[in-house]
């Protein structure tokens, strides 16, 4: 009877998660959706505490207090620019929790004599593999985003062979363990191999490919939760985990499409491990570009009818989101229409730019997706590209030799004037020279984005 009650309560929690996610379909209802989902979680937790025969209360309380305190501190102190790291870390804890639960369940079976029914045996091994892989992969992703580990793609000889051998070895371990569950050393070897695979599979992925990796790890963390559901025979966990797994997969797919690359290419391509020589694959010889002063740029902006701002990771790096809003406010006060063009892979995670700009109080109806804004570019007087590079490279449209070829881009070059704010002429993440910089209607505005915006603000006031 109590099992029936608790299972109904878990079902209710899962239904609330679905309703919560449904409300995320609009920014107006999203916040209440998050509340609905957290209510679902509260119901699930209370049900477990009441109906699952909890005997060891001190342990539970210690765990809850430690976890909540750390979670709360993270949530309150993280800056919007550091959100990708935060999400990477959360993914990791989710995966880690699943792996640890599976280990605890394994320890219980071993303690009880080592007999594990086949269905639970399979679930435990899979949970261990996905959980630890998610954990160590996320920790590396966090390290890369936090710049504790190099953001570039790290490659070593026989990379793919090593991963393939490791994966095959793990498969053999899983099969052996399902047949002979009481082999503890093999179980520990499987755990270690999963941790190693997580590290090795994220290390070769470069910084700008992080949106794909974080989405994929997000999906894994959901799948890990689902696997825990199989381990403890709980449909609520399976449903909730599957929702997250699906969400991560959708995002992964969107990110890959936005870069016109397959998932396999992102995971194994080691994109951005080398920097191409400027002009390589092109016409060769010196190309000339124009740079302009902040005063000239300010005049151009102040007398424009429509300005489109295309932000990239550089905006986050220089924390320029407030300065850009201030400039936009000034321009709007002068009657200029200001719109923001958001490329799906701008920044280090899906929606990164939107959150940054929202933090600076930019209303979300001024943010436009690539498909919405591109048709407007020819009618735009000035486009301002700030800290974005590969996502605005026109070579992606026509240069079949370019690694970026086929990637959908923001058509900032189609505006009457294109201003590119950049620190130097260094190529972007893909290591490809950007032909946008050398177009006749492009002007370079050199300097740190935040400083440049401050100078532009002063200059616009003078106009």
């Amino acid at each position: 009877m109590t099992a029936a009650i608790s299972n109904l309560a878990y079902l209710l929690a899962a239904v609330l998660f679905i309703f919560g996610l449904k409300r995320l379909s609009s920014p107006a209802t999203a916040r209440s959706g998050n509340m609905v989902a957290s209510l679902g979680m509260l119901i699930a937790i209370v049900t477990t505490l009441l109906f699952e025969g909890i005997l060891n209360w001190p342990m539970i309380i210690i765990g809850i207090v430690i976890g909540s305190t750390i979670g709360l501190t993270f949530a309150k102190t993280v800056t919007m620019t550091a959100m990708p790291q935060m999400v990477a870390l959360l993914n990791g804890f989710g995966g880690g929790a699943s792996a640890v639960v599976a280990s605890a369940e394994y320890a219980r079976y071993i303690n009880a004599g080592g007999e594990i029914p086949l269905n639970f045996g399979i679930a435990i091994q899979l949970s261990i593999v996905i959980g630890w892989l998610t954990f160590s992969g996320s920790v590396i992703a966090f390290g890369k985003l936090q710049e504790l580990v190099t953001g570039r793609a790290v490659t070593y000889p026989l990379q793919k062979t090593v991963n393939a051998v490791l994966l095959t070895g793990m498969l053999l371990l899983v099969v052996t363990l399902v047949a002979q569950p009481d082999n503890v050393p093999l179980f520990l070897a499987l755990s270690a191999a999963a941790l190693l695979l997580g590290i090795l599979s994220v290390i070769p992925i470069g910084g700008a490919d992080m949106p794909v990796v974080i989405s994929l790890l997000n999906s894994y963390s959901g799948l890990a939760a689902s696997m825990t559901g199989f381990v403890i025979n709980n449909e609520g966990l399976i449903i909730s985990g599957a929702l997250v797994g699906a969400s991560g997969l959708i995002l992964t797919n969107i990110m890959c499409k936005a870069m016109n690359r397959s998932l396999a290419n992102v995971l194994f391509g080691a994109f951005g491990s080398t920097v191409q020589e400027i002009g390589a694959g092109g016409d060769g010889g010196e190309k000339s570009y124009r740079s302009l002063s902040h005063e000239d740029a300010a005049t151009m902006l102040a007398y424009a009818k429509q300005v489109v701002i295309a932000p990239g990771y550089g905006l986050a790096v220089s924390q320029a989101q407030h300065a850009v809003r201030e400039l936009a406010d000034l321009l709007q006060a002068r009657g200029v229409i200001v719109k923001y063009a958001i490329h799906p892979v701008a920044g280090r995670m899906p929606g990164h730019m939107n959150v940054l700009l929202a933090e600076a109080d930019v209303p979300y109806d001024q943010l436009y997706d690539m498909d919405q804004i591109n048709p407007e570019m020819p009618r735009t007087d000035v486009s301002v590209t700030v800290g974005a590079n590969d996502v605005v490279n026109p070579a992606a449209r026509h240069d079949t030799t370019s690694p970026l070829y086929g990637m959908p881009i923001l058509d900032v070059d189609k505006a009457h004037h294109a201003i590119v704010m950049k620190r130097s002429m260094r190529p972007g993440f893909a290591g490809v020279d950007n032909e946008l910089f050398y177009l006749p209607n492009t002007s370079m505005l050199f300097g740190d984005a935040k400083d440049s915006f401050k100078k532009l603000i002063e200059a616009v006031k003078e106009v």
């Binding site: 979670g71 280990s103 399976i238 599957a242």
Partner: protein, 98 residues
């Protein structure tokens, strides 16, 4: 045993389809809150963690249980709170500000 596993597999596959249907409708502007929010949902592992920590049959089991509870709670509390913080910032019209 295997019948049980297949039954759960049915639930799993159907839930993935529900997930696809619901999440396809989330606009790109909310993709970061979607990730952190769904992350909090994957903290549902807390159920398993609480059950493990609440048993008192083996020492190793309850130690692992506490670690799992702490990990999952970071996920749940951190995920929901940070999502709320982000969503609070999404505003519509300039008039509504300040």
């Amino acid at each position: 045993m295997i019948e049980e596993l297949v039954g759960l597999l049915v639930v799993f596959v159907l839930a993935i389809f529900v997930g696809f249907e619901v999440i396809t409708k989330v606009p790109p502007t909310l993709h970061t809150p979607l990730m952190s929010g769904s992350n909090a949902i994957s903290g549902i592992t807390i159920i398993g963690a609480l059950i493990m920590a609440g048993r008192s049959d083996t020492r190793i089991g309850s130690i692992l249980g506490v670690i799992a509870v702490a990990f999952a709670m970071i996920n749940v509390v951190g995920g929901f709170m940070v999502t709320d913080r982000m969503l609070h910032m999404f505003k519509r019209k300039p008039e509504e500000q300040r």
